[in-house]
């Protein structure tokens, strides 16, 4: 009993301060430890051993010059040598009038969208695995995702199909044909995407 108590106290102290899901700290495998060369002087310990740490002998450090290209490109470099990276780059127009793609972080951005995944508070129809085989999902307040599928009664026009065919492509088809916004779980459009939405989704999608 005494041994167990001592062991528990020591184990708790040793583990204290670590993330429960992280491995125990080992200095030999800590950041940079594995690749650090051991046969170099201290001032060169951080440099890769196979690269020179000084400028080439034929070019003094203060003589390094920028060679300007014809014009600046969106690549994270100062192509025109004016001291500013990726400046004076014209935006690319998006399909929606007035929206543009801007050069940021060395790449042209995506076209802007009103939300991330869905319009906050909007609703789409999902097909459940049992009982009514019909449900709905609500878009979160920040538009970043949907709730779980909450079961409900299918509309009268799809009730017979739900009873006979249960969870089926026919039920999804009924959902789409009756102007609901429906999760394409059965890939009815054949594009391989079973997470997209089909049907009347103007008030749900972000585009």
């Amino acid at each position: 009993m005494r041994v167990l108590l001592i062991g528990a106290v020591i184990a708790a102290a040793a583990g204290c301060g670590r993330t429960a899901l992280e491995p125990p700290y080992d200095p030999s495998t800590a950041d940079g430890g594995r690749d650090r060369p051991t046969d170099l002087p201290a001032e060169k310990m951080d440099a890769p051993p196979d690269l020179p740490t000084e400028h080439p002998p034929d070019l003094a450090p203060d003589k390094i010059t920028c060679v300007p290209k014809a014009e600046e490109e969106c690549n994270g470099l100062d192509d025109d040598c004016d001291g500013i990276v990726d400046n004076h780059i014209a935006p690319i127009p998006c399909p929606n009038a007035g929206d543009v793609r801007l050069c940021v972080g060395g790449h042209f951005s995506d076209c802007p969208k009103r939300c991330g995944v869905c319009v906050p508070g909007s609703e789409r129809t999902c097909i459940t695995s049992f009982c009514t085989f019909w449900g709905s999902q609500v878009c979160s307040a920040d538009g970043m995702g949907f709730s779980r599928c909450i079961e409900s009664q299918p509309p009268p026009r799809c009730r017979a199909i739900a009873n006979q065919m249960m969870r089926s492509p026919e039920l999804e088809k009924c959902c789409i044909e009756n102007d609901f916004c429906c999760v394409d779980e059965f890939d009815l459009d054949g594009d391989g995407d079973t997470k997209e939405m089909l049907g009347r989704c103007e008030s749900v999608v972000c585009e």
């Binding site: 020591i10 301060g17 429960a20 899901l21 929206d99 801007l102 972080g105 790449h107 951005s109 970043m144």
Partner: protein
């Protein structure tokens, strides 16, 4: 006709609201901010005036009213129509930004009031909240592009909140984005911040834009902070942000190359005993051993 159809669609959308219990604030199409904001001064004479609305807002041609109190003149700015030559209101659906250009240039060193309409929302039965801003003009036009030091710092945390639309517990990475100094010849009150996620698990070659927001005015320091929330699938691993500021004439800063990055950890995680630091020191071990020995001695004394 188009407006009538859109209005009917909104009403039908609201009537067909799902049976899930939602807070009243879920998806409300409220005004978020105004550029320039209320009580702004030194607004350039060639400024375009704008207002950001919540994601669910839909613009159906509601009027924007610009009032010039000194002479009591009131200008109603309507939605732009094809071939319309008069100044009108434009709506950016992607940015949820309603913007107007006054018919005549703003008068120098004068006061104005602008009234932004309450808009309807796709999934809300009632219209949202509009806004009004009083502002003072300066004496000159805005002619130069703004200068912005870019995103200069980034920290992160994970929060669990109850979502007001789904009534579910949701996990979100919260990024505190530190913004460098910004300046413009039209003043900072006319700036809009455009942020981008330049790296992340789902950001490929094209950085992802966030909706523009008015430059933060409620912080006194030169360095400002804004918060960005991302779902766990968008925010885990190496995440970077960069940004621009845009002035009221539409000119942008040259700051898109300044990135700040951070590496987030996937939940669940636990950092216990934070006072002790990240690693158990030899001192901690020695103290624990001493405590154990003390306990053993006390027990053996009692038993004798």
């Amino acid at each position: 006709m188009r407006r009538a159809l859109a209005a009917a669609a909104l009403v039908l959308g609201a009537a067909a609201a799902p049976s899930v219990a939602r807070a009243q604030s879920c998806g409300r199409p409220d005004l978020v901010d105004m550029v320039p904001p209320d009580m702004a001064t030194g607004v350039p004479l060639n400024a375009r005036l704008g207002a950001h609305y919540a994601t669910s807002a839909e613009y159906l041609g509601e009027d924007v009213v610009l009032v010039h109190p000194p002479d009591g003149r009131q200008e109603v700015l309507r939605e732009c129509a094809p071939n319309m030559t008069k100044p009108c209101a434009t709506w950016s659906r992607a940015e949820q930004f309603l913007q107007v250009t006054p018919t005549e240039p703003l008068q120098p060193n004068s006061s104005y009031e602008i009234r932004w309409p309450a808009l309807r929302g796709i999934n809300a039965a009632a219209p949202g909240v509009g806004g009004r801003a009083m502002f003072e003009t300066g004496g000159t036009d805005d002619v130069a592009a703004p200068v912005f030091d870019g995103v200069t710092g980034l920290t992160w945390d994970l929060e669990h909140t109850n979502d007001e639309c789904t009534d579910d517990q949701v996990e979100r990475y919260v990024f505190d984005v530190q913004l460098g100094a910004a300046n413009d010849d039209g003043g900072t009150s006319g700036l809009t911040l455009l942020l981008f996620q330049t790296k992340g698990p789902l950001v490929m070659e094209q950085p992802t834009p966030f909706p523009g927001r008015a430059w933060p005015q409620d912080q006194d320091s030169v360095v400002k902070h804004v918060q960005v929330r991302l779902s766990t699938d968008l925010g885990v691993g190496e995440v970077c942000f960069a940004g621009f500021v845009r002035d009221t004439t539409g000119m942008l800063s040259d700051s898109g190359h300044v990135e700040s990055c951070v590496h987030t950890t996937a939940p669940p995680f636990f950092r216990g005993c934070s006072v002790g630091g990240a690693r158990a020191s030899t001192e901690t071990l020695a103290a624990a051993l001493a405590l154990a020995v003390l306990l053993v001695r006390r027990r053996s004394r009692r038993s004798t």
